[in-house]
């Protein structure tokens, strides 16, 4: 910090507008590169993961402590006590226990729900905890505390309880970003379980508040699909494994083209209160692999 050095430093300082110009070019370049390819994400996510993720994990715990406090204001005391007992219980359990428990819960649930239990059982799943959510208010993606070191890969399906949450879109060494199916830019190929008609499930920001997601492009000329029907992931999706529960139809409307139908789905997962998720470590088979 000698005055001579400082003067020298000031001499070489780049004026703001040139720096702005250079960084704008850099950003534009990065946008173009990451929009078209994927090769930059690995080194950058490694750097981000090593610094930010451990901190996020810690603060997340503080965050859930605070959120419990804020719920206290709204909820009845008895309900809260029960809630806290359950939370304390959850904290005591290790990751392994959570996974096993949810597996068992899922198994019994699904045995009652449909005959898909055999299919679900075959998938190997690992549990993970949500440690951070989208920094803005536009999308519903979140970060979990497992990454490529735990065997996760891009496009692996993420579930919670008995329903589909989304899929992994970005992986770092110890973290992964999950895009949920209610995200505004998410489109999932689904299927009505009872009639095997295909449809497209689309997330929509305008429906977040109502707790529903929309579907469209349902071709049902025989009017066999009714409200309350189960929607599962379809066989023809190239990202999602078949037969995972998405939700239940709540309304159906005929489109103005008189050919297809659209409407709303109540998702099987409570996206507001997600804390732990399960990742299926099996990828959907596609033509090139």
């Amino acid at each position: 910090m000698s005055p001579i050095l400082k003067k020298k430093g000031e001499k070489f300082t780049l004026p703001g507008k040139y720096l702005l110009f250079i960084l704008t070019l850099l950003c534009t370049g990065l946008i173009v590169i990451t929009f078209n390819t994927n090769f930059l994400s690995a080194p950058i996510s490694a750097v981000g993961g090593s610094v930010i993720v451990p901190l996020q994990e810690g603060i997340s715990k503080a965050g859930s402590w605070l959120s419990t406090r804020s719920e206290e204001l709204v909820q009845i005391r008895s309900l809260l006590q029960e809630n806290e007992e359950l939370k304390a219980q959850v904290d005591e359990l290790t990751m392994e226990n959570i996974r096993l428990q949810q597996d068992r819960y899922e198994l019994t649930n699904l045995r009652e729900l449909y005959e898909l239990d055999a299919q679900y059982d075959e998938y190997h799943k690992i549990g993970a905890r949500i440690i951070a959510r989208d920094s803005g208010n536009w999308f519903h993606s979140f970060v979990i505390n497992k990454g490529s070191e735990d065997g996760l890969q891009i496009d692996m399906n993420v579930m919670a309880g008995s329903g589909l949450v989304g899929r992994i879109v970005d992986v770092g060494p110890n973290w992964a970003k999950v895009m949920s199916i209610i995200d505004d830019n998410s489109n999932t190929s689904g299927m009505v379980l009872s009639t095997s008609e295909n449809l497209v499930v689309c997330g929509d920001l305008e429906l977040y508040a109502d707790g529903v997601i929309s579907f469209e492009k349902l071709i049902d000329s025989a009017d066999r699909v009714v409200e309350g029907d189960k929607i599962v992931t379809s066989n023809i999706s190239d990202k999602y494994l078949p037969g995972i529960l998405i939700g239940y139809i709540s309304t159906i409307n005929m489109d103005s083209n008189n050919l297809t139908k659209s409407g709303l789905i109540i998702p099987a997962v409570d996206f507001e209160h997600l804390e732990e998720v399960l990742i299926i470590t099996q990828l959907k088979q596609t033509v090139d692999n």
Binding site: M1, S2, P3, K6, T13, L14, P15, G16, K17, L19, L20, L23, T24, L26, C27, T28, G29, L30, I31, I33, T34, F35, L40, S41, I44, S45, V47, G48, V51, I52, L55, Q56, I59, S60, A62, G63, S64, L66, S67, R69, S70, I131, A132, R133, D134, S135, G136, N137, W138, F139, S141, V143, K177, D184, N185, L205, E206, Y208, A209, E272
Partner: protein, 172 residues
């Protein structure tokens, strides 16, 4: 050097708070935008250069974890920081009206540019809905948080400037 470390710490703390604690207690599912507060206040407190650098790193951090493409948030934040730097000349630490107005406008600009780039271009035209349900609540919460966060940032900046002056005097 001290300034560099403090800035990095501030950015990381704001990012962590925004993605964890505030998401946990978010009323109505909307979080305040702490990083806009940081970017804008460094912009008008320290000038356009600092504003754009702080903005770039805030945005880049958001991009690494939550961006669909790398660099979009970085660019928006950077321009906001730079534009706020233009007001450095009429900024006085005692006056809180100008910072509040600047942060409010910055958050509005951020909301609109994000809407245009990621929603309008995909054919989502209900701007009224997005404005009333996302942009406006975020601006309101951000302004409320600003009333707490801004004095802190101001105080940190004052301390840093004092210590820089002291060390500069020492070597004269």
């Amino acid at each position: 050097m001290k300034r560099f470390i403090v800035s990095v710490l501030l950015i990381i703390i704001c990012f962590l708070l925004q993605t964890t604690v505030f998401k946990g207690i978010a009323p109505g599912g909307i979080v305040p935008n702490l990083m806009i507060v940081l970017t804008a206040s460094f912009g008008f407190m320290r000038g356009e250069r600092t504003g754009l650098i702080i903005g770039f790193f805030c945005g880049f951090l958001a991009d690494i974890f939550f961006g669909n493409v790398l660099g979009l948030n970085a660019m928006i934040y950077m321009y906001i920081g730079y534009a706020n730097g233009k007001f450095n000349r009429i900024f006085f630490p005692e006056d809180i009206k100008l910072p509040l107005a600047l942060i409010l406008v910055s958050d509005l600009v951020y909301g609109f540019s994000y809407y245009v780039t990621l929603f309008l271009l995909r054919g989502r035209f209900h701007i009224r809905y997005y404005f009333l349900h996302v942009i406006l609540p975020e601006v309101v919460y951000t302004i409320l948080i600003t009333l707490l966060l801004y004095p802190l940032v101001l105080w940190i900046n004052k301390k840093l400037e004092e210590s820089e002056e002291r060390s500069a005097r020492k070597f004269v």
